[in-house]
Every structure is written in structure tokens, then in C-alpha cells.
């Protein structure tokens, strides 16, 4: 038989396979690609991952309770269109750009809570299977988005949107100047060439919310209840948890994160498009599952989800670096998902080891 100590190490390593996978991915692309190991590529990966990461963080909560939220894909388009529409309307009405942008973002975040609330009520109170409830909402969100934008992408947004979405936390010309948030203007072309921009705004926003909700999941009673419901609804109820109320909140968290992704989309692409994000639902679920969550509930972590999202973004940008067509990524992502679920299913030892 296998030495128990060795077996223990082996299981520990296997349980963290996604970290190893990410490392191998980076290694492979660094060897095969052109200048893959660079600050540019790193920041590109971080920015590209934001949509999937945001969706996946919300999805992590839902999946831990044993549910799934498929509505988040078109929620990105829906809230993005709301955000863009409000901005364009206010701008046309003559408000300041700052006001138009702030109200647009706030509107998207508030409106975005409603579908989550409905999902939660359907799942928790009316016992509609999460797959069906949120799949229905997926269609509803898309239809509403198309109605709001009249089947045409919303453009001509306030001109300050681009600089926010493409901005950075730090701007640094080595040996000369250091700024936060505001890109220094009036630089000579030589200084511009040496300008180093660090920490993209979009990633900053994403990481702040990810950390807050990572803390909530890992360290608070709310988080413990989430795991408890995923472990066993009956046990959770017997322990005095208001399961229905909790589930509604969990689905609202998921749609809140989808709204954040919608706002992020508008800031980065300076447009509101109804189908935005629809392709990212699969990626979000994959990120959560390869991050160690179980679709049977009770298991998962934000750190795992974060690494899962990085695995996917690295894959897409690595393939682009090699100038290989994007559809290889779809095949790879599909395979990774199935393998991750197989690992989850056929290694009860791994499941039980997780506490």
C-alpha cells in the first residue's frame, strides 16, 4: 500500500491542482510565446479576467449553497445597457459628466438587485429548481436589455468614461514623477514612452469587492450559514438558520456582482450592448468549479475561484499571444470543466478532507 504520509501529501497536492495548472500554463506560454512573461501581459490578464472573476465570485456563493445562477450572463448586458442608457440620457439632459456617470453606475447596481431578488424568491420560497429559475431570468434579462437599447448598442457615452475604464491606480515615470489615479498630462513624448501604468482601475474595483466578499464568506456568520445550507438544508434549518431569507440574499449577491461586471463592461468598452457577457456564464461556472467548489454544494472558496478565473484569462491571452484562434479556448475550457467535475466526483477522499 501507499505510504500514508506520502498519500497525504499527494492528496493535498491534487486538491490544489488548479494552482499547479496555472503555473504550468504560465510556464508553457512563456516558453512558446513571444514576450509572454511581461508586465503588459500580466495586466492584460488581470483586466481581461475582471468580467469572469466578478461573475464567478457571485456564483461561488450560489454554488456553495448547492444552486446555480445562469442568469448572470445576460445580466451583464442588461445592467450595462441600463448604465449606458442612463448616462446618455442624463448627458443629453445637460447634467455634468460626473453626475451622469455616477447616476448611471448607481442605477445599474440598484436595478441589478431586482433579478437576484426574484431568482431568490423563486428558488427559496417557490421551490423552482435554480437551473430553471435563473435560466428563465437569463432570457428575461436579455429581452429587457434589447428593449431598453432598441436592439442597437448604446454609444456616444460621456467622454470621461474611457479614461476611467482604461485608467490605472499608479502612473510612474521612473526617476521623474509618481501619480495616483489621474494620468499626468502634458508629458513630453519621451516621458510618455517611459510612463509605467500600474494596477488597472477595473482590476482594482474587482479585487476590492472580491476581498470584501471573500472575507464575508470565510470569516463571518453569513459565510458559515452559506456553507451550512450547501451541506444540508435540513440540518441548516434545524440549526435555526432562516434558509429562505439567506438564499434570497445569496442570489442577490450573485446579481449584484453581475451588475458590477455590467458596469465594468461599460467602462472598458464605452458602450452598452445587450448580448454582453452572455459568453461568460460558462467561464464563470468553470472558474468556480475548477477553483475547488462542488456543484453538490457545501464546498468552495473565493481564493479558489480567483485562481480559476486566472487560469481561464491566461488561457485566452496565451492563445492570442501564440496567434492561435480563440475557439481553441472554448474546447480547452469545456475539457477543463469536465475534468474538474470528474476529479470532484471520483475522489470522495478529497471531498471529505475539505473541512
Amino acid at each position: 500500500m501507499m505510504n500514508p504520509k506520502f498519500k497525504n501529501v499527494f492528496i493535498r497536492v491534487l486538491r490544489r491542482w488548479v494552482f499547479i495548472f496555472l503555473g504550468l500554463e504560465i510556464l508553457a506560454f512563456s516558453l512558446l510565446g513571444t514576450n509572454f512573461l511581461s508586465l503588459d501581459t500580466l495586466q492584460n490578464i488581470l483586466v481581461s479576467s475582471t468580467t469572469v472573476l466578478l461573475l464567478a465570485v457571485g456564483e461561488t456563493f450560489v454554488i456553495i449553497t448547492g444552486g446555480i445562477d445562469l442568469s448572470v450572463g445576460f445580466m451583464v448586458g442588461f445592467t450595462g445597457v441600463v448604465c449606458a442608457k442612463v448616462m446618455v440620457t442624463l448627458q443629453a439632459a445637460g447634467t455634468t459628466q460626473a453626475m451622469a456617470i455616477a447616476v448611471g453606475i448607481a442605477a445599474a447596481l440598484v436595478v441589478g438587485l431586482l433579478p437576484g431578488f426574484i431568482n431568490g424568491v423563486l428558488v427559496a420560497h417557490l421551490k423552482v429548481p435554480p437551473f430553471i429559475a435563473t435560466f428563465g431570468m437569463y432570457g428575461i434579462a436579455y429581452g429587457c436589455a434589447e428593449i431598453i437599447c432598441n436592439n442597437v448598442p448604446i454609444h456616444d457615452l460621456p467622454s470621461a468614461v474611457g479614461p476611467i475604464g482604461h485608467g490605472f491606480l499608479f502612473f510612474w515615470v521612473p526617476g521623474k514623477l509618481f501619480r495616483t489615479f489621474v494620468e499626468p498630462s502634458g508629458l513630453s513624448s519621451i516621458d510618455l514612452k517611459h510612463l509605467v501604468s500600474l494596477v488597472p482601475n477595473l482590476f482594482l474595483i474587482t479585487v476590492v469587492f472580491t476581498l470584501i466578499f471573500g472575507f464575508i464568506l470565510a470569516r463571518t456568520r453569513f459565510g458559515r450559514h452559506t456553507y451550512a445550507i450547501g451541506g444540508s438544508i435540513d440540518a441548516a434549518e434545524r440549526a435555526g438558520i432562516d434558509v429562505k431569507r439567506h438564499l434570497v440574499k445569496v442570489y442577490m449577491i450573485s446579481s449584484f456582482f453581475a451588475s458590477l461586471a455590467g458596469v465594468g463592461y461599460v467602462l472598458r468598452y464605452i458602450t452598452g450592448r445587450a448580448p454582453a457577457g452572455s459568453a461568460q456564464v460558462l467561464d464563470a461556472v468553470v472558474a468556480v468549479v475548477i477553483g475547488g467548489a462542488s456543484l453538490y454544494g457545501g464546498k468552495g472558496s473565493i481564493l479558489g475561484t480567483f485562481v480559476g478565473a486566472m487560469v481561464l484569462a491566461t488561457l485566452v491571452l496565451g492563445l492570442a499571444n501564440l496567434a492561435l484562434p480563440t475557439y481553441y479556448a472554448y474546447i480547452a475550457v469545456g475539457c477543463i470543466l469536465i475534468i474538474a467535475v470528474l476529479i470532484d466526483q471520483f475522489s470522495p477522499e478529497l471531498v471529505h478532507k475539505e473541512d
Binding site: 513571444t34 514576450n35 509572454f36 511581461s38 503588459d40 501581459t41 492584460n44 483586466v47 481581461s48 436592439n151 442597437v152 448598442p153 454609444h155 456616444d156 457615452l157 467622454s159 474611457g162 479614461p163 475604464g165 482604461h166 513624448s189 510618455l192 514612452k193 510612463l195 463592461y265 472598458r268 468598452y269 464605452i270 458602450t271 450592448r273 454582453a276 485566452v316 491571452l317 492563445l319 492570442a320 499571444n321 496567434a323 492561435l324 484562434p325 480563440t326 475557439y327
Partner: protein, 328 residues
């Protein structure tokens, strides 16, 4: 004497080898707008010019073709291309007049000259000061003029009277909106002609087909349709053909794909305005190379306009026309 010759020859040899290593080619990158025959043809033209200039002068690198049209598909691929870090000049078709401004500005600021091809930033006037006037040049069709030509051609076919429908694609894309503006302008010359509707298919051919089919339902006396690019035109053609109205409803199209050329030969399409994507690609590489070779001092025209060619039933089979058909 012999030894002296030997020395001279070895010096020459060493210098030749040395120059071969030192004379690094300029790296020119091309980021297409979407995977379609128009951009494939552009790449072909660019490659031909790069080969003509020689591999010691220009190395052409082509980014991944975006699967769909729009900044969300193009920007990550563009960023990945530029992260290679060895690119001296970029030519690209911005998929949005607005969303690509901050993205391309960033690379311009790093000292990489940008040429926009086929589509442009802002209103495309790079001669006046603005936040989008940084590109070296716009190389592309005079789309407004093309739209006017299509309107006139349809008017001729319809005897200057009747209802027409416009199938467009992305309303935040410069090229196709100019075609719409030109088409509307052109129709003003024919007061008996009425534009009964405009739809946007967002570069989805099935959407275009459904929208034109719907227009045919709504207006049973519709006399003509104009599809403004590969996807809108192919969708418009498919809808008219499926309704059995080929020849009855005149179909004016844009972009000479093999599908549309075949349809023209079959009488299902009435004319095609062909752009010159190969020439655009070739011009980008040529001007790009000359600008870089001049030490970035050459004054490049801010707008370079290759012409277009109109295919009709009468000239589609002539040997001279074949060069204007798009191909992979």
C-alpha cells in the same frame, strides 16, 4: 598582393554578415476587425507588399481574427498582440469610433505609430486637433461617396421611383454609418424614391436575413434593398431569394465575397460595390514602412482613399474584374 586581397575580402564578408544581422526588419502589426473575406483579402494585400519590400525590411505580424464585431471581441486580442513588445507600427480597423480611442492612444503614447484602416476614430478627421487625431492616417474607402453611388445605381434600376430598405450593421462603426449617410444623401436626388426603413444586424447574417424578411412582409411593394457590408448584404440577398422575389426586388450589395458574386451571376443580386481591401492592406504596409524608414519624419497624408469597383451582370465575368473579388 594575394594576402591583401584576402584581407579585403574577409572584411567585406564580415561587414556583409554584420549588416545582415544589424538591419533588423521593421515589425508591422495588423489587427483585423472581424474574421471575414474583406479582412482576409486585406491581409493578403499586406503580405504581398511585405514580401515585395523584402523580409529584411518588413516583418508583418497578424493578430488573432476576432470572431465577432465589436470592442469586446477586438480589444483583448489587440492588447495581447501589442504585449509582444516588439511592434514598430500598428494598422487596425477600430471596431468602434469611440471605444478604441483610449486603447490606441495608449500605444501611440508609447511611440508606436497607428494607422486606422477601413474604419476610423471619432469623425475620421485627423487633421484637426482632438483626442482622436493621433493616428498617422486613415486608409479606407470613401464610404459616403460609395453610399451615394449605390443610391444612384438603385435609382437607375428602379427608374427613379419606389420604396427601398437599408440593412445596416453596427451604428457605432464609422464605415457603415458613412454608407448610410451617403445612401440617404443620394436618395435626396430622387424625390420619388422613399427609404421605408433601416435596421442594424450587428454583423450577424441571420439577423440581417430576418430583418429584411420582416421588411418584405411589412412592405409588399418594396422595390429595392441595400445591404451595407458582407453580413448585411449576404443576409439581404438570402431573404429576398428565400421570398422568391429575386429580380422583382432589386438587391444592391456591398463587398465582393464569393457568395455575392455567385448570386450576381445567378441574377439574385443586381450589383455589388467592391472595395479594394487588398490595396488598403498593401498601402498600410507601404506607407508604414516608408514612415518608419524615414526615421518617422515622412509626412503621410492623413487620409488615403483607394477607389472602389461596381460589379454588374455585364462585367462580372470579364477577366479584368476578377481581381476585385475578395478571397482568403
Amino acid at each position: 598582393m594575394k594576402r591583401w586581397m584576402m584581407v579585403v575580402m574577409s572584411v567585406v564578408l564580415v561587414m556583409a554578415v554584420g549588416f545582415g544581422l544589424v538591419a533588423k526588419p521593421f515589425v508591422i502589426a495588423f489587427m483585423p476587425g472581424i474574421a471575414d473575406p474583406f479582412y482576409f483579402t486585406m491581409e493578403k494585400g499586406a503580405k504581398a507588399m511585405a514580401a515585395q519590400l523584402g523580409p529584411d525590411k518588413v516583418q508583418l505580424i497578424v493578430g488573432q481574427y476576432p470572431a465577432t464585431w465589436g470592442p469586446d471581441a477586438q480589444v483583448p486580442l489587440l492588447d495581447a498582440l501589442m504585449a509582444r513588445g516588439d511592434i514598430d507600427l500598428l494598422f487596425t480597423a477600430p471596431t468602434s469610433t469611440q471605444a478604441l480611442i483610449p486603447v490606441l492612444k495608449k500605444y501611440h503614447d508609447r511611440g508606436i505609430p497607428i494607422i486606422t484602416v477601413d474604419t476610423y476614430l471619432g469623425d475620421g478627421d485627423y487633421t484637426k486637433a482632438s483626442d482622436y487625431s493621433f493616428p498617422l492616417s486613415y486608409i479606407g474607402t470613401d464610404n459616403k461617396l460609395g453610399g451615394e453611388v449605390v443610391a444612384a445605381q438603385l435609382a437607375v434600376l428602379l427608374g427613379g421611383t419606389g420604396k427601398v430598405f437599408l440593412e445596416n450593421t453596427n451604428p457605432d462603426t464609422s464605415s457603415v454609418m458613412d454608407r448610410e449617410r451617403g445612401f440617404r444623401q443620394g436618395l435626396l436626388g430622387f424625390p420619388q424614391m422613399e427609404l421605408v426603413g433601416v435596421e442594424y444586424c450587428l454583423d450577424n447574417q441571420e439577423t440581417a436575413q430576418a430583418q429584411v424578411a420582416n421588411a418584405l412582409q411589412l412592405h409588399d411593394d418594396l422595390a429595392g434593398v441595400f445591404g451595407v457590408n458582407v453580413f448585411s448584404a449576404q443576409g439581404a440577398h438570402a431573404a429576398v431569394a428565400a421570398a422568391g422575389l429575386s429580380g422583382v426586388v432589386k438587391v444592391g450589395t456591398w463587398d465582393a465575397t464569393a457568395t455575392l458574386i455567385e448570386a450576381l451571376k445567378n441574377g439574385e443580386v443586381d450589383f455589388i460595390l467592391a472595395q479594394k481591401p487588398g490595396e488598403m492592406g498593401s498601402l498600410c504596409v507601404q506607407w508604414g514602412y516608408e514612415y518608419l524608414a524615414s526615421g518617422k519624419t515622412l509626412s503621410v497624408p492623413r487620409k488615403i482613399v483607394p477607389g472602389f469597383f461596381v460589379f454588374t451582370k455585364d462585367n462580372v465575368n470579364s477577366p479584368d474584374s476578377q481581381q476585385y473579388i475578395y478571397s482568403k
